[in-house]
Symmetry: C2
Subunit: 554 residues, 2 copies
């Protein structure tokens, strides 16, 4: 398309979106603002900037160049924050290694990403010892440690430098050049249910736009601004996982006080919340459960705490409990592939007058799409379904901050981006107010007459019948409908022989009509079985049951 | 610089920053939200989107193609909002014509921008009649009117279509394609003190980033979020001027209720504030003065009104008066060349506990730079001055949303961007808290020993002496200091002969030491004169006085 672009006489106006530019404003408006590691180390943004320069100079001295990959294994620390900036600002790629992976997975990801340098916390030296001989590309190791004694032991590799010594000997005056905003800045690996971890990756431009988009939504979409420069930020999802949801970048851009807690220990988290005045965090439900369940949490005043819950569905009971403690708890939705934030569950003024129970329903929804996020619910032909809070389909998305694909995995990348949208493999609906509700993973839905039908919803409905002990709903091939839902039902012993499959089907059909379930749910068939197959960890093994449902009747 | 860019197997992930994408979120989260014109016409975002499609189809039917320029002459209206989106979304350039210009200037800007199409409100037909014969490129005219009768009169040009009829006959299903985000989206003209108006221009990418940056700052920088989706927006700086500071784009992106007032009449503005519940606006001090001074304003509850003041310095007295009415009044800083917003005067929680007088000082400062805004105060060698609230220099800036230059004016463009930063020609300082204070225009400062010295500050100091009737401070060439300030002083008749130049200089020097003025101010020389030269509008004619100060003594 022809466009009327005026040729400027100078290219001085060009302004690539680079991570280094997130540091511009805080150094003017908050140079004295604090960053603390566990409350025992503390410095200001001016010092942060100097240490970022020193780290870059130090790494350059070790031979790190633009285009290389620098991997980090650490808990959440000020050091990690420094790496978040210094490594991409040099033009290198930051690989955030998932330290919860087993050693073989860690080895795989370091080799697959072709990491050149590894910064490793002394706590992980045993892991490193078990894989060091098989690292194919890492040649340089830098040791991170909270504790000099721990770092003085025998090393499984030749350590090129200790982190603090490296910084102390290097100049703060590293010149961070401008370069292409599409340069890769970070990479990390995500696990599926099968196979090796898959690498996703983000550019400078994407991380900057994600920071702006989140800040715009947190200020602009909720009735009250939810994130402002007087907030105190502490991550509670790890920095190795989707850059702690990008919030270290956002917090820095806004000049917030930042608190890094190291490894997530409930007593330490409780202490930091109290002593440092934490007001803004994000975590998965499990971590919040751990924190609120800790004895120290009982005396904490949590009424200034704003907390994004993500990673898995938030139980409404948790939202109610949090509400009673005064916490402003709300859901965020996204995944590793999406940088991650796509939606946030913002409330309106009137919503905030609702009871805890009523608010919980809204707070547990997945939320409203951020600006620029093109979030759709589509059927199998990529057609939009109605925004009526009932019609469901796959969540597909475009936004300026999605991974381009999986690292060195062209087939999976093409699948991920089929039809020009990133496929989340999540099933959900959107209501008239724009709230996304994610209901299922795609593997848990059955495509009946071309429409997604939730097996989990059907299971919920059938499980409510007093005769039912356990139920698994699977899809079975059907000439007319493509697939039909089949409920494999284990009856309570005392009900065996007293209820017909037909009667249970009718019970379900009536409940389906009254529920938000797909109308095709009524095509449900019921089969009473003698056993259900489960996996080694006790989950329903639907794959095997679907393969031969008849066998379960014997 | 080599960068490790992974080649994706698909380019589906590419997401150019285009104006059309600002519409994505509101259509999901606020499809029923209202947009009203003067309270007498009202529709929702779904209808806005349909009308944008119709306008694009209608314009395409008139021959408008990507790359062409569509000029608009209208007061602030829903039609203008539709043009803000439809024209750039087609790949065409929207020229917002300053209807306050005189007809010759309007003619100049339409010819200079090579406008192809003109959408003109029937109110401006007399202007059009006076220039129609000399329009060099405009071939197609579309008539806008609030009033069918007014539009039925004799036309000075052949009208291709009436706006509402055009929309009514066109399809809402215009397919807005993706294209290069650097495509030019808008252009408009700004006046200097001399010469013809100069054209500035902005790309899709720049307008989208400006919207995100403003939203991030309005939510994230103030103690409380200052702009959220339950706000009701009404512009009070015109849409023809820097796109009403970009707020129609921002308000749309966030899904706000929007109120367009037409021409700014204080009674209409007061009525709309009350009837439509306006909570967010922006204006120059003069307009606020007009509104607050109107009889209808006395009964208005303005305690929910947030108002950005810009365009010229906000008097502290105005901030105090606004505070007493409960208005959250704060300064924004920028100019036509900067899209415009660079800084906003956000307060902290503790600041908001201060007295009205103390807050006024902060609210009247020019504010804190937005995220990504690289705002510097530099001396003549482009070296940063200290952020101590005293050292002053020129404000220079980089950000992702600055004009690339002046349209078809290579020399002025190069001057604007000298040294890789956009030169604002404003003089100011930054304090330790990051607040910018703009003190002078560059033509009002004197460069002494390489340091900017404010002539206005020196004039204020000297004017405090009881003997002084009028004073003008100009710079005179000096071998050692480059320039030295020279005070041309007209004494009150009764003091003539009773005060020496030397005594007044010493009085000034002492006051300079105690003030925030440059230390080089003490190099001030004093010359008693018999007259001061003024321009035709009564301003000091410093240019002529500087040329021959000696002549003023005779």
């Amino acid at each position: 398309m022809p466009v009327k672009l005026v040729q400027a006489t100078t290219s001085a106006y060009q302004y690539p979106l680079l991570i280094k530019q997130l540091l511009l404003t805080p150094l003017v408006i908050a140079p004295e603002q604090e960053i603390t590691y566990q409350g025992r180390l503390r410095y200001n943004y001016r010092e942060l900037r100097a240490r970022i320069g020193r780290l870059a100079s130090g790494l350059a001295g070790l031979g790190v160049e633009a285009g290389q990959t620098v991997a980090v294994m650490d808990w959440d620390s000020h050091r990690y924050l420094e790496c978040f900036f210094a490594v991409p600002m040099m033009g290198a790629v930051l690989q955030t290694v998932n330290v919860r992976f087993n050693p073989e997975q860690i080895l795989y990801t370091l080799n697959h990403a072709e990491a050149d340098v590894l910064l490793v916390n002394s706590e992980f030296l045993p892991v490193l010892a078990s894989i060091a001989g098989r690292l194919e590309t890492v040649k340089t190791f830098v040791l991170l440690s909270d504790d000099e004694a721990a770092a003085a032991g025998e090393m499984p590799v030749t350590v090129a430098a200790e982190y603090e010594a490296l910084l102390a000997s290097a100049s703060a005056d590293f010149e961070f050049a401008d370069f292409d905003e599409n340069a890769q800045a970070t990479t990390f690996y995500t696990t599926g249910t099968t196979g090796q971890p898959k690498g996703v990756y983000f550019s400078h431009r994407q991380l900057v736009l994600h920071a702006l988009g989140c800040a715009a939504a947190l200020g602009g979409a909720h009735a009250n601004g939810r994130l402002h420069r007087e907030d105190v930020y502490m991550p509670m999802t790890p920095m190795f996982h989707v850059h702690a949801w990008g919030f270290p970048y956002i917090a820095t851009m806004l000049g917030l006080k930042q608190v890094y807690p190291g490894r997530y220990q409930p007593d330490v988290l409780c202490r930091l919340i109290a002593e440092e005045g934490v007001t803004f965090s994000h975590c998965v439900p499990t971590i919040l459960h751990l924190v609120l369940g800790h004895p120290h949490a009982k005396e904490l005043d949590l009424s200034n705490w704003k907390l994004i819950i993500g990673g898995s569905a938030m139980p409404e009971a948790m939202a109610i409990a949090a509400h009673q403690r005064g916490i402003d708890l709300f859901t965020g939705y996204g995944m590793s592939e999406t940088c991650p934030v796509l939606t946030l569950a913002h409330l309106k003024f009137d919503d905030m007058k609702l009871s805890a129970e009523e608010q919980a329903v809204l707070r547990a929804k997945t939320g409203l799409p951020l600006p620029l996020v093109d979030l759709r619910i589509v059927d199998g032909e990529m057609q939009d379904v109605a925004h009526d809070g009932k019609a469901s389909g796959e969540v597909v998305v475009r936004s300026p901050w999605l991974t381009q694909g999986y690292l060195k995995a062209p087939v999976e990348s093409e699948e991920l981006w089929a039809g020009g949208y990133l496929h989340t493999s999540d099933i959900g609906n959107i209501n008239a107010a724009g709230y996304l509700k994610v209901t299922d993973r795609i593997k848990d839905v059955i495509k009946v007459g071309g429409e997604w039908t939730s097996s989990l919803q059907l299971e919920d409905i059938i499980a409510k019948h007093e005769a039912v002990q356990e139920v698994a709903v699977v899809g079975t091939p059907d000439a007319k409908w493509g697939e039909r839902p089949l409920a494999l039902v284990l009856l309570k012993p005392e009900h065996v022989g007293k209820l017909s499959e037909h009667a249970l089907r009718n019970f379900a059909a009536q409940a389906i009509d009254a529920s938000g379930c797909s109308r095709y749910g009524v095509l449900l068939q019921v089969s009473f079985v003698k056993r259900l197959l489960k996996t080694s960890v006790g989950k329903m093994n639907k794959r095997d049951m679907r393969a031969d449902p008849q066998a379960l009747r014997d």
